[in-house]
């Protein structure tokens, strides 16, 4: 439809600006890749060199073999996927209840739920840890999976707002055709919430993929570590092998990049929808 349109001169400044902006954004990224291929010590050469000489592919082999990076991949993936799937289910169910159903003390309950968002995670960290250590869940993945599934107040809030904007007439029509509340949630609400679900899913996935503090507190065994912990393990106490650290970071980025390539549309929708950035 736009292929026949002429390229207006007035858009040139916009493109120039966008290219400059894109350049600024991508430079640290290129720097990371470049550093990951450098030798120790040549990282701070001046003038800075984007294409290292010599190129040390060996860094990637060393990064992959010194620590269980592959295992950390699987751990991170398992946790992030389970939490995302689980919290989409619980948040949408709770969101539906708050948006469309009538029950006792609905408003006060919703306010209490919102209030839980005001408590910083650090405050509940130690009580939670004590609780999980009593049921022997420390050094397992469960404390990283169950709490975010069962207490995603932000997700409930986001989906409740989105569902409240869906006209009641849709649901009424379903009721006349004999749908019970569960069916109208599953067949009417969920399909209409896809953009919100996608946005929430992406935020949840990213949040858990990048999470550092909670896994740090709960996990002891190196074979159970998630990627952020493993990458941080590349830092020494006094000196850091930066090229190795950067190689590990590059490796860890690959799945996120793939997800982004396929889900770019939802990312942008999610940001415009919620007014937040990931």
């Amino acid at each position: 439809m736009s292929s026949s349109r002429k390229f207006p001169l007035s858009t040139i400044p916009i493109y120039v600006l966008l290219v400059i902006g894109a350049g600024v954004m991508i430079l640290p990224f290129l720097w990371m890749i470049s550093t990951s291929l450098k030798g120790q010590g040549s990282m701070f050469d001046y003038p800075p060199r984007l294409i290292p000489r010599p190129v040390q592919w060996d860094n990637y082999y060393r990064a992959w073999t010194t620590l269980p990076v592959g295992l950390a991949y699987l751990n991170s993936l398992k946790i992030a996927l389970l939490v995302t799937a689980g919290s989409l289910l619980t948040s949408s169910m709770a969101g539906y209840a708050f948006a469309k159903m009538k029950f006792l003390a609905k408003q006060p309950l919703f306010v209490v739920l919102l209030m839980t968002m005001m408590i910083p995670g650090q405050v509940t960290l130690i009580p939670m840890f004590m609780w999980f250590s009593q049921i022997n869940w420390v050094d397992t993945h469960w404390p990283l999976i169950l709490p975010p599934i069962l207490s995603n107040a932000f997700g409930v809030f986001l989906l409740r707002q989105f569902m409240a904007a869906i006209p009641n007439e849709l649901e009424d029509a379903g009721k006349i055709d004999g749908l019970n509340p569960w069916q109208s949630y599953w067949k009417i609400m969920l399909p209409n919430c896809k953009p919100a679900l996608a946005a929430l899913g992406i935020f949840t996935f990213m949040g858990n993929w990048n999470n550092f503090l909670t896994p740090l507190i709960y996990l002891n065994d190196q074979n159970k570590f998630t990627l952020p912990l493993i990458i941080s393990s590349f830092k020494g106490l006094y000196t850091t092998d930066w090229p190795l650290l950067m190689a590990a970071s590059c490796i860890s980025l690959v799945p996120v990049l793939i997800v982004y390539l396929f889900a770019q549309r939802y990312f942008i929708e999610g940001i415009t929808l919620s007014g937040l950035k990931g």
Partner: protein
């Protein structure tokens, strides 16, 4: 698709999550060995939790394996945590608060007063048995053995000395410094060398010396000039004493004359990188830099005593990390046994073999293994490190040391940037520190 089948699906999903969680807890619960084996002849499992660089792990693991082989009734499981001391302390605090700490840890010397004053460490004294303290360097053992209580076993001694780039010295025609601490350079000699080594401008500038105003890296200048940061019983600040002020002013002048990178410069390039890339002549830093610097092949470098101030007495701080038993361990006796093994001849030799842990605290091992340690240095230069242990002193760590340092650095950064006179900064700082020490 009935509503029933969906409900069943949802319920069974949640149930399976919870149940599989429980089942995996069953197996991990028994292996972590929280209570079995108390005196019943069963095997006791101890958890040991440390932070370390990845390249240090073979050494620590080797030491733990040696213990496990020699003690069939006890098994230590070594856990390496990610990150640095900050993350480690955060995690230990949470686990102690929850009553589920690892039995053994290795704690940075800076954090020892904080942990011991809060009662988060076990006193080892009741379980020491026939432990012979005289075999160890007093400067290492004393700081953890006070008032009849012992809260930690020293892991090894790190001190500070002056690394210097020999190629740059030759190029500038400066005679190499002596390796005897009693013949250390004076402040004036340091300034002269620094001025000769400094050249160039902008990002490729070559600096003579790095002046780090952080008290943990600068206190030796105050000591050798007759001053210090805190008084003997750590109740009052002496940073505003004339001797301390003089040393600080001297350091500030080195930065202002352009011989040292400013705090801003070191934000963009870490100083150890600056030294490794041959753009820094002299770096006063700790023994812990040795493994990294041993890989330098683009120039010759050496180690010398730190230049001394007005008193003429050489000084260097020591940093002796400690093996500790955390409060809440259910096996204090066995854990103390393990700690005694960690400072035994066998264990110390393993650490030396792997080039970690600093100078051994057991004098016999330190003497016997001189040849094998610090292989990048000549025999004469090795003595710089060994001699430094004898003259070294511990920093006046307090239980609120971190806060003291935060306050101090806020002022001293201004000194480094030249926005505040060193003498005035010391006066203002003394008031603030005294308030925090009350």
């Amino acid at each position: 698709m009935s509503k029933l089948s969906l409900k069943i699906a949802a319920v069974s999903l949640i149930a399976s999550l919870v149940l599989s969680g429980c089942s995996s807890n069953g197996s991990s619960g028994s292996s972590s060995g929280s209570s079995p084996g108390e005196g019943s002849g069963e095997k006791v499992t101890l958890r040991m939790s440390i932070v370390a660089g990845a390249d240090e792990m073979p050494g620590w693991q080797g030491m733990v394996d040696a213990f496990n082989n020699a003690h069939p009734d006890t098994e230590i499981k070594l856990e390496r945590l990610p990150g640095g001391w900050g993350e480690y302390v955060q995690k230990m605090t949470a686990q102690i608060a929850a009553g589920d700490p690892p039995d053994i840890g290795r704690l940075g010397v800076v954090y020892m007063p904080m942990f011991s004053s809060k009662g988060q460490l076990e006193d080892l004294t009741p379980h020491l048995g026939n432990f012979d303290k005289s075999q160890y360097y007093a400067s290492a053992l004393e700081q953890y053995d006070q008032n009849g209580q012992m809260f930690g076993m020293p892991t090894g001694v790190y001190t500070m000395a002056m690394y210097y780039n020999k190629d740059m010295f030759e190029e500038a025609g400066i005679p190499l410094p002596s390796s005897d601490w009693n013949e250390a350079w004076t402040f004036d000699e340091l300034r002269e060398a620094a001025s000769k080594l400094t050249k160039g401008e902008g990002p490729n500038k070559q600096y003579g010396v790095y002046v780090n105003l952080n008290p943990e890296r600068a206190i030796q200048y105050l000591w050798s000039n007759g001053g210090g940061i805190l008084n003997e019983d750590r109740s009052k600040s002496i940073i505003n004493a004339p001797e301390s002020k003089e040393a600080l002013s001297y350091l500030q002048s080195l930065i202002q004359d352009g011989y040292s990178p400013t705090p801003a410069d070191t934000q963009t390039t870490p100083v150890d990188q600056l030294f490794q890339s041959g753009k820094l002549g002299m770096l006063i830093e700790g023994t812990w830099m040795m493994p990294g610097f041993s890989k330098i092949d683009s120039f010759e470098w050496g180690v010398a005593p730190i230049p001394v101030g007005a008193t003429g007495q050489p000084a260097t701080p020591n940093f002796v990390d400690a093996y500790v038993v955390y409060k809440g361990s259910k096996h204090v006796k066995e854990a103390t046994e393990a700690l005694k093994f960690f400072v035994s001849e066998e264990a110390e030799n393993i650490l030396v073999d792997n080039n970690i842990g600093g100078i051994p605290v057991l004098k016999s091992v330190a003497d016997a293994r001189k040849v094998d340690m610090f292989e990048a240095l000549s025999l004469e230069e090795k003595e710089v490190w060994f001699q430094s242990v004898e003259i070294s002193q511990a920093l006046p760590f307090t239980s609120n040391w971190q806060e003291l340092m935060d306050t101090t650095m806020k002022k001293l950064d201004l000194v480094g940037f030249g926005r505040l006179d060193a003498g005035q900064a010391a006066d203002e700082l003394a008031v603030e520190l005294d308030k925090m020490l009350e």
